[in-house]
């Protein structure tokens, strides 16, 4: 039950994008087309889950036993950077079509603050391994959900008559605000 609450909380109630403001850059940058939004979301979900596992082990078995908690920022960011590189290499080797579909988005995941945010949340809230994985997966689902919703809306916005100065990022942010308001409705679930 507890796991279920963690999942729902990360996916919709405390959505990473719309409530914690993590991962706004890809949210504004990649949400032009639904198809690329979904691939970006899936790639990010994958990296989030792997990061959750790896950062849990690093924190619990290296940083805490040796009293090195103050090194968590550099160690997490280095792990994430090498992880993304590694994932990129594996995907390239295993599945060429998937690699081509994800393209430039894979390396960009390193600078997505949702990933580092996740690692920091896990160490801050002292989740165990299973909770970390569920939390990472929930966050990924929430990110994909927000990104694809936004992409759907932006495809419709193409046809709307937006004032010139408000085209692009400004209108996206305002729409995101309205989406965030809608997501507040989920707060009653837990």
């Amino acid at each position: 039950m507890n796991l279920f609450i963690i999942f729902i909380s990360a996916a919709v109630v405390n959505n990473f994008v719309l409530a914690y403001f993590l991962g706004i850059c890809p949210f504004v940058g990649v949400s032009n087309k639904t198809s690329s939004a979904v691939s970006m979301g899936m790639a990010t979900t994958f990296v989030l889950v792997v990061t959750a596992i790896v950062s849990y082990f690093i924190y619990a078995f290296i940083l805490v036993p040796f009293h090195l908690e103050f090194l968590q920022i550099p160690s997490f960011i280095l792990v994430i950077a090498s992880l993304v590189q590694f994932v990129e290499m594996v995907i390239k080797k295993v599945s060429q079509p998937l690699y081509r579909a994800l393209g430039i988005y894979l390396p960009l995941i390193t600078t997505n603050c949702a990933i580092l945010g996740l690692a920091l949340f896990i160490s801050m809230r002292e989740y165990n391994l299973l909770e970390s994985v569920v939390f990472g997966f929930g966050a990924g689902v929430g990110f994909t959900l927000a990104l694809s919703l936004m992409a759907g809306i932006r495809e419709e916005l193409e046809l709307a008559d937006v004032p010139k100065g408000f085209q692009g990022a400004p209108i996206t942010l305002i729409v995101a605000g309205i989406l965030a308001m809608a997501f507040m409705g989920f707060a009653g679930i837990i």
Partner: protein, 227 residues
């Protein structure tokens, strides 16, 4: 051509001309998340500026020693070290502020403004210029975060810097201190800033057109202006 840019210009451009938030559209995450109050905004901006200045300075000093292939990783390690310093100092000296900013101090590491300035400016320019550029960009961030935090704090809780300034009769707009308010306020600010820039550009273009192309007839000016 780069050398001809004056030092003052290098400093001033970051505040408005290439303002990190309004013009480069970078670093939205902390901008939106911490601006519940003007004070939080200022604290975040100062922390970011500190990291920005020192990482730019160091990167600019060692820029010729770093092999090209590993430069991004090197930048991130340098940035992460300064972020750790800020994080620890804030935890020790301002525990409350550090708590209210939450994970966003450590998240300065992945703030794209810092990596962006490192890659676009500090890796190509000398330390003095990089320092001025970082200072200017930092002030640009400070400007945006203070304005955004101020607007949200005034409308959301009737106060600014903890002083009540709006009368009791004004019902606080709770939405402003919720996430939705952050998105909408920044969206509007960005939109107005874009509209202003567009308008200024259009006026300048029309002025140039009139100045350099002697008018043959009134119609031609109208056509030129409309194009």
């Amino acid at each position: 051509m780069k050398k001809q840019v004056s030092l003052t210009k290098e400093f001033v451009k970051g505040i408005w001309e290439i303002n990190p938030t309004f013009k480069q559209l970078l670093g939205f995450c902390p901008t939106l998340a911490v601006t519940v109050s003007a004070m939080n905004g200022i604290a975040m901006a100062l922390a970011t500026t500190f990291v920005l200045i020192f990482s730019s300075l160091i990167i600019s000093i060692v820029r010729k020693l770093i092999p090209d292939q590993v430069r991004i990783a090197t930048y991130i390690v340098i940035i992460a070290s300064f972020v750790t310093i800020v994080d620890l100092v804030m935890k020790a000296k301002f525990p409350e502020l550090s708590k209210s900013l939450g994970p966003f101090i450590p998240l300065i590491v992945v703030n794209c403004v810092i990596l962006g300035r490192a890659e676009a400016f500090a890796s190509k320019n000398n330390p003095l210029r990089s320092f001025l550029d970082a200072l200017g960009n930092g002030l640009g961030i400070l400007l945006v975060l203070t304005v955004l935090g101020g607007i949200r704090e005034i409308l959301g809780s009737r106060m600014i810097f903890g002083v009540t300034i709006l009368p009791q009769a004004f019902e606080p707009w709770i939405i402003m201190i919720l996430p939705a308010g952050a998105f909408i306020t920044l969206g509007l600010l960005l939109g107005f800033s874009n509209t202003y820039t567009e308008r200024k550009k259009r006026l300048e273009r029309e002025e140039l057109l009139q100045k350099y192309r002697p008018a043959k007839s009134v119609n031609e000016i109208k056509e030129g202006g409309a194009a």
